[in-house]
Amino acid sequence: MSSQTTFRSRAMATSPIEQPSNLTRRKARASLVQWLLFVVTALAIVILAALLWDISASGARWLSLDLLTNTSSRKPENAGLRPALLGTLWVIGLTALFAFPVGVGAAVYLEEYAPNNRWTRLLKTNISNLAGIPSIVYGLLGLGVFVSLFALGRTVISGALTMALLILPVIIIASQEAIRAVPPSLRQAAFALGATRWQVARDHVIPAAMPGILTGIILSISRAMGETAPLLVVGAAAYVTFNPTGLTSKYTVLPMQIYEWARRPQQDFQDLAAAAIIVLLLLLLMLNATAIYLRQRFARNVKW
């Protein structure tokens, strides 16, 4: 190391700027890291593309309007996923309806109102823990509380309430992060004008945090849409040939329908499952597009 330094400094003696001795090695390391990062990104994209290609190859043949409008059937030619698609829309719509106000409300309370004491810290830690609990556990909770205790039965409302519980911790944590990112100077400015806590939260903190809150909500809703395990437990039916008609209707959802088709031995049903996956993915894509649109709308209201 030191001999290299003397050699270099002698060699560069005539140069107006003396090069640090380890520059070549640092540059080599930097480009190596850059390549490694590129490779892992490419790997992720290639795997995803391969999966999509595989699904499309087997499912594309079955994509048609009939798939969307027919009900499930024993004959693959007649099989469709209308009840599952509507079931997903019902369950996810209600989930969002329950989880959004409760989640954002809890986050606003924890960040803007709650005193910084042991009780609050305990609460915050436990919410983070709840986010890491396997979804099947929420299913069992839903089965015990909503299906049996509240006697709501194996219905749309039980499923939606269970899903809402599942995504609440994630919504609360994401909303807390978004609220914490609002600069304190903004709150001080509002308080100094004689505003109450609620006026500060309503007119400044929540609007400024809204894009971040929406991101959290959409991510968790997307997760809920693909979730099967808890609904399996709270009783989404596998074979449903009618539309869900209301809160207390029996129902199925897309992931359940996919599972039901995929476990049948016939190749046609396997391919139908692939087609249903494509429908589910398109639904997710549409949801995310809506989220991006909403984010930009809310971001416009705040003139940073």
Binding site: A192, L193, A195, D203, H204
Partner: protein
């Protein structure tokens, strides 16, 4: 139980005593740390009081006590008395929201709301339930803050699109719009260039006729230029902030009574 600040007692008390805010033996703790101790001074009506002193001596802490902004800092505790028109505003019976509505504040870093210039002014007016012609009120406040001519054609643009000096004058206009009695300014020009600073100082001179102003500043020339009364703070041997000297600005800058004051204002202090 909440005590309301009654308009008639305010008027009668002010006319006898002349001080709008009167601080008696103020002590401020952050957790167990005593940040400021034994601070006593009066803020005379329609004058500018400058709080000066080295960093960390508690000038801003004292300022934030006057409109209960310290309530927002976890662990902050205030002892002693701050009489606003004769009524102690440091007790839990007094609602800080009501105090802040009468004692406005301008911060060190300009902090306009991320809203339009118009809304920046109108928001405080709306939430305080003040009624009247909002367009006129916005114009009057911006004129008072010497900003109207620069922004009258772009009232719907973001307050954050303005320059730093303009943003600070917008913050002053926003404070004026709710018609406070006292305006607290925490180093209002320290983030600004010399020309913007001069504009803020001119503005303070102008506002002094209608409002009582308390300003924290690190800039000795500024204190000498704008203030009528100067309060000098420093740190004692236990590193608690203490009041060293208070008096007419003219007297203090020409003939300081305390050696520490003289060292500080002549620049010999660290």
């Amino acid at each position: 139980m909440s005590v309301t600040l009654d308009e008639s007692t305010i008027k009668s008390w002010t006319s006898d005593a002349g001080a709008v805010v009167s601080i008696h033996d103020l002590r401020v703790f952050y957790g167990n740390f005593l940040a400021v101790t034994g601070v006593t001074f009066d803020v005379p009506k329609h004058q500018i009081t400058a709080l000066i002193g080295p960093s960390g001596c508690g000038k801003s802490t004292v300022l934030r006590c006057i409109n209960r902004m310290n309530d927002l800092i976890p662990g902050a505790r205030v002892e002693g008395q701050i009489l606003y028109h004769g009524q102690d505003i440091c007790t839990s019976q007094v609602d800080p929201v009501e105090v802040r509505r009468r004692i406005g504040m301008v911060f060190q870093k300009p902090n306009p709301f991320p809203k339009s210039i118009y809304e920046n002014i109108a928001w405080g007016v709306k939430i305080n339930g003040i009624t009247g012609n909002m367009d006129e009120l916005v114009e009057r406040s911006l004129r008072q803050a010497a900003l109207w001519d620069e922004v009258k054609d772009k009232l719907q643009e973001s307050g954050l699109a303005l320059s730093g000096g303009q943003q600070q004058r917008l913050c002053i206009a926003r404070t004026l719009a709710i018609n406070p009695d006292v305006i607290l300014m925490d180093e209002p020009a320290s983030a600004l260039d010399p020309i913007s600073t001069l504009k803020i100082e001119d503005l303070m001179r102008e506002l002094e006729r209608q409002y009582t102003i308390v300003v924290v500043t690190h800039n000795m020339q500024q204190a000498a230029r704008v203030s009528d009364q100067t309060i000098f703070f420093s740190l004692d041997e236990h590193r608690h902030g203490v009041l060293i000297e208070a008096g007419r600005t003219r007297d203090m800058f020409t003939n300081p009574r305390d050696q520490r004051t003289e060292d500080y204002i002549t620049g010999r202090f660290g």
